[in-house]
Each structure stands twice: as structure tokens, then as C-alpha cells.
């Protein structure tokens, strides 16, 4: 009878395995009508959600399925303030060979997947207030590492058709979910790593030295207070907007004989030889709902209990409760000066260390700020 269980629900080992054979095609531009290469989707681009049909299970059987899933993968637990599942040690032997390399500025570490929580003010220790945006790193685990030779992204950057840097790809997942609600294919991505399927997947290009073992948890301590990060997210969808809101134009005067064009853009082109509208002219159109990067944002504070990161400023894209991706910044002057946790930080069980602040920030546990008289 145990066979039946395996056939019906639990045996996920007969899942679809996509073996990946990278084919390199040297494109020769002979004719002008060369068709662009077909986009090959990455191997994790699978159908996720199962059809939502009513399975008509009895209460007992539903409880049994749940029990079996929890026995296999881990019991539900609240870890770092997020309800997830206790992940057992995922892989017994290292599938990624570990290179003990010292960090140097040219190496690229992985990023994190986070949720934007909102913003509130913080103060520096000279009493200056600044708004900070909160990001929670939501139950991140490494799912897969694809080495540089095998990794062939569907769209290559325009600037460098051949990758100058040899970069591998790290697949990171966030927020565990019940496998009953996902397709068998999709669950198969996580099965070998012994993890519940993740709701969100993210791809990070990393140097091979920074590769991580699948199943490694990623924490907020991957960054430190004082670091600068790039935040990538989808901006708020504002719909079709005029030039005043979309591009910050001034509009035309409210009075002095102006009629029916108080919020219009005015002139958009020239006459004569240049008698056309130049491409890229700022005009009304759809605003928001695209991926944008806020570069070089400074980390002010990190809460290790809930894995929350406070970032200076409120310019990061996305609305509250949306998903963002956090990377080390690419701005040359704001890169790490001292060695960051490489390839990532380790989990430290320390009840005392809940908050760590950037230098010269006012800690809320500190007494009131007072200034001393100069002599």
C-alpha cells in the first residue's frame, strides 16, 4: 500500500528533469533581414499554479496529505517572523565545489529577494531626521547554481554580445508554500534540494567563486549597515498620465488668456528641415509598472530577528508589500571598502544582537540627544 502513496502524492522523483545542453551559435550578419534568435526560456520557466479544481477529498484524507507532506519536508514553523517550514539539512554532499577564495572588489556576490514594508523616519545622532524605507528579506534560499559554461541567458546584453565576465547564475527562491497548490513540474525544481516550492524565484548573476550550495539560507546580514545597495523593483502603475505628472513639466499658465491648455506640454518639435517629432520626445503615455533600479541606497539599520533592512530615502521603486531585489551597488565609488560576508553570511544564534545600526545613527534605545557647550 505504501506504493500507492508514492504514486499518488509523495513520489516526486519521477518528475520532469530538464537537462541543459548549451549550444553556442555564432551569429553571422549577412543579410539585413536576419530573424532574431528565438528566445529560449530558462529551465525554471515552468507552469506553476495547478488548475484550481475541487479535489473532493474527505477531511481525514486532507489531513493525511498534509501530514505526509510535513513528514517529508518539514513541519510548519515561524522563522524570522515569517511562517514557513523547517528545512532539514538539504544536501548531504556539496554539489557546488567550494573555492576558498578571498574576496576582492571584482567578485560579484549574490543578491536578495525582499518585500517592501513601507517607510518611517529615523534620526542621526546630531538630530537630523531622514526617512527610511523598510525591506524584509523573506525566507530566501538558494535553489540552484548554474556554472558559467552551462548558463546561456535568453537575452544577452546589447553592449557586450560576448560575455566578458564569466558569470554563473544563482537561482534564489523566497517564501515557501504548500506543494499541493503547485504543478508537479514546478515542485520538481525544489525536490532534490529537499525544499518546499517557493512562491517567488529570482535569478542573480554571480562570479563562480561566490557560488553557494543549494539550500543555503540567505539572511539580511548578507549586507551590513553602511553598505550601499541597488534596489530593483516594479514601479507603481499610474496608468495613462499627462506630461505634468509623467515628466514633471510645468504646464502653461493658469490665466493671462490661456485657454484649454493649462496642463499641456506645449511645443514638441521644430519646423523646416527638422520637421518631425524626434524619437524619445517626452509626451503623455503610460506611467509606471516597469522595472526600475534605485542605485546606491545606503543601509542605515538591520534587524536580525525579523531580517529587516532600513534603507535611506523613499525613492525605491514599487508600492508597499511589493517584491524587490537587492544587489550590491554597481556605482564605482560606493562599492564595498572592506570585505563583506563572502559568499554570504552565516546564521548566528545570538539573542542579544537584534539591531545593528550604521555609525552616527540615533538608536531608539539611546537617551535624548543633547549638545554640549563649547568652551
Amino acid at each position: 500500500m505504501s506504493k500507492i502513496i508514492k504514486c499518488t502524492i509523495l513520489d516526486l522523483s519521477t518528475l520532469l528533469r530538464v537537462t541543459y545542453t548549451g549550444i553556442t551559435v555564432n551569429q553571422i550578419r549577412s543579410a539585413h533581414n536576419v530573424r532574431p534568435p528565438r528566445i529560449k526560456y530558462p529551465l525554471w520557466h515552468l507552469q506553476r499554479e495547478r488548475a484550481k479544481d475541487d479535489q473532493q477529498l474527505t477531511e481525514d484524507n486532507r489531513a493525511f496529505v498534509k501530514e505526509a507532506v510535513h513528514d517529508k519536508f518539514g513541519m510548519p514553523a515561524v522563522i524570522h517572523g515569517i511562517s514557513t517550514y523547517e528545512v532539514r539539512s538539504p544536501l548531504k554532499e556539496d554539489s557546488v565545489e567550494r573555492k576558498n577564495v578571498e574576496w576582492h572588489p571584482k567578485l560579484k556576490r549574490t543578491g536578495l529577494i525582499a518585500r517592501k514594508l513601507g517607510n518611517y523616519p529615523m534620526w542621526s545622532d546630531n538630530g537630523k531626521s531622514m526617512l527610511a524605507t523598510l525591506f524584509q528579506v523573506i525566507d530566501n534560499h538558494v535553489i540552484k547554481y548554474i556554472p558559467p559554461g552551462e548558463f546561456d541567458p535568453p537575452r544577452k546584453p546589447y553592449s557586450c554580445p560576448k560575455h566578458k565576465k564569466e558569470l554563473g547564475c544563482l537561482l534564489v527562491g523566497a517564501e515557501s508554500a504548500d506543494p499541493q497548490y503547485y504543478t508537479k513540474q514546478y515542485c520538481g525544481l525544489f525536490y532534490r534540494e529537499g525544499m518546499m516550492p517557493k512562491k517567488i524565484l529570482g535569478r542573480f548573476l554571480i562570479s563562480p567563486e561566490a557560488a553557494l550550495q543549494p539550500g543555503t539560507p540567505l539572511l539580511a546580514s548578507h549586507f551590513r549597515p553602511g553598505d550601499f545597495i541597488d534596489i530593483r523593483g516594479k514601479t507603481i502603475d499610474r496608468g495613462f498620465q499627462g506630461v505634468m505628472k509623467r515628466h514633471g513639466f510645468h504646464g502653461l499658465p493658469a490665466t493671462h488668456g490661456v485657454t484649454k491648455s493649462h496642463r499641456r506640454g506645449g511645443n514638441i518639435g521644430h519646423g523646416g528641415e527638422k520637421g518631425r517629432v524626434f524619437p524619445g520626445t517626452k509626451m503623455p503615455g503610460h506611467m509606471g509598472n516597469r522595472y526600475r533600479i534605485h542605485k546606491g541606497a545606503e543601509i542605515l539599520r538591520i534587524n536580525h530577528k525579523y531580517n529587516v533592512i532600513w534603507v535611506k530615502g523613499v525613492a525605491s521603486p514599487g508600492e508597499t508589500n511589493s517584491i524587490v531585489y537587492l544587489h550590491d551597488t554597481i556605482l564605482p565609488l560606493r562599492k564595498h571598502k572592506i570585505t563583506p560576508p563572502f559568499p554570504t553570511s552565516k546564521e548566528v544564534e545570538d539573542d542579544q544582537l537584534i539591531d545593528s545600526y550604521k555609525e552616527h545613527m540615533y538608536k531608539f534605545t539611546d537617551p535624548t540627544i543633547t549638545f554640549e557647550e563649547e568652551k
Binding site: 500500500m1 505504501s2 500507492i4 502513496i5 499518488t8 479535489q55 473532493q56 477529498l57 474527505t58 481525514d60 484524507n61 493525511f64 496529505v65 505526509a68 513528514d71
Partner: protein, 186 residues
């Protein structure tokens, strides 16, 4: 709006509320919108089950829920509640129904007081999504079809057997590990 209003306390509704209201296309503006909703709220208390466009049904639901929860919270001796019922219910005998029939019916409820179902569209006549709004505990037969006994379905029988086998295996392992421990202790 950057802070909550504290002048009055309101019970939590047990339905999902959308962050923004819907305008309902009214030439008379917000007042006309309320007048539209008043009719449906009145009809809901009268007939207990309505078939409506989804948008207006969803809006009506919130107002009906609030009215019932206020009536349960304050009773019929509370002046503002009575004033509110007077505004929202046009047929005055229904005010008696609210306080004397619906309040006793719903006072022990732990769930919402109304139900909203998605109704089929009669293509091509009606293009807007339709829905059915009803008060719980109404005298009509249930909208949802009665469920057949699921226990005799093949997958349920198979799972039932699988459960027995799985449990047996599990207990066996536990006893085995306990025995091993005893041996080690001795």
C-alpha cells in the same frame, strides 16, 4: 488622511473590503451614489436574496454589513444608529425587521452576515458580471448544489488505505527506534 479617526469605535467587518470605493457612475455625484445604494440595501433587507451586477452588489454588501453590525452593537435605543437605519431603509416596517428579526438572528454569528456569489452571465445579453447577494439564514433553498458523499470516490478509498499503510509503517519505525534505545541504555 494620515491618521485614524478616533471619534467613534467600529466593529470589524468579516468581509473583504476593497481599499477604495467604486463610483457607480452617477451624474448626481456622491449623493446620487448613496441613493442608488439605498435602494439595493432596502431591497436586500426586504427580499433577503438579490441578483445584481457584481459592482453594485459588492458595494451594497459593505453597507448592509455595517448597518447590521451597528444594530447588533448598539441596539434600537441608540439614537445615531436609529438615525442611520432611518436613512438607509426607506420602507419603515423594515427597520422593525432589522432590530427584531435580523439582530437576534445574527447576534451569535462568527462569520459575515451576507453572502456574495458570482452568477453566470447570460451571453450575449448581459455583458457585466452578475452576482447574487443574500442574507445568511434566509428561508430560500441553498444556492450551492448539495454535495454528494465523497467517501466512496476512488481516490478517497485509495488514500484511506494508503493512510493505514503509512501509519503502520510509521509506528513500526517508532517502536524499532525505541527498542534500539532500550538496548543502548542497558
Amino acid at each position: 488622511m494620515n491618521q485614524a479617526e478616533v471619534s467613534q469605535l467600529i466593529s470589524k467587518l468579516r468581509i473583504r473590503i476593497s481599499p477604495r470605493h467604486k463610483n457607480l457612475k452617477c451624474p448626481e455625484g456622491p449623493q446620487g451614489r448613496l441613493n442608488k445604494l439605498r435602494k439595493t440595501v432596502n431591497a436586500l433587507f426586504k427580499y433577503e436574496r438579490l441578483e445584481l451586477n457584481y459592482t453594485i452588489a459588492d458595494e451594497t454588501r459593505g453597507y448592509a454589513e455595517r448597518l447590521i453590525s451597528e444594530a447588533i452593537r448598539h441596539g434600537d435605543t441608540h439614537k445615531p444608529t436609529m438615525e442611520m437605519a432611518d436613512y438607509w431603509i426607506e420602507e419603515k416596517q423594515l427597520i422593525h425587521k432589522l432590530f427584531k428579526v435580523l439582530v437576534p438572528r445574527f447576534s451569535d454569528y462568527k462569520t459575515s452576515y451576507t453572502m456574495l456569489y458570482r452568477a453566470p452571465k447570460a451571453y450575449p445579453d448581459i455583458v457585466y458580471p452578475r452576482s447574487v447577494l443574500e442574507l445568511r439564514g434566509n428561508p430560500f433553498p441553498s444556492i450551492l448544489p448539495q454535495r454528494i458523499d465523497q467517501r466512496n470516490f476512488i481516490h478517497n478509498i485509495l488514500l484511506e488505505e494508503a493512510k493505514k499503510a503509512y501509519r503502520a509503517e510509521k509506528y513500526e519505525q517508532i517502536t524499532k527506534s525505541l527498542n534500539e534505545q532500550d538496548v543502548v541504555d542497558k
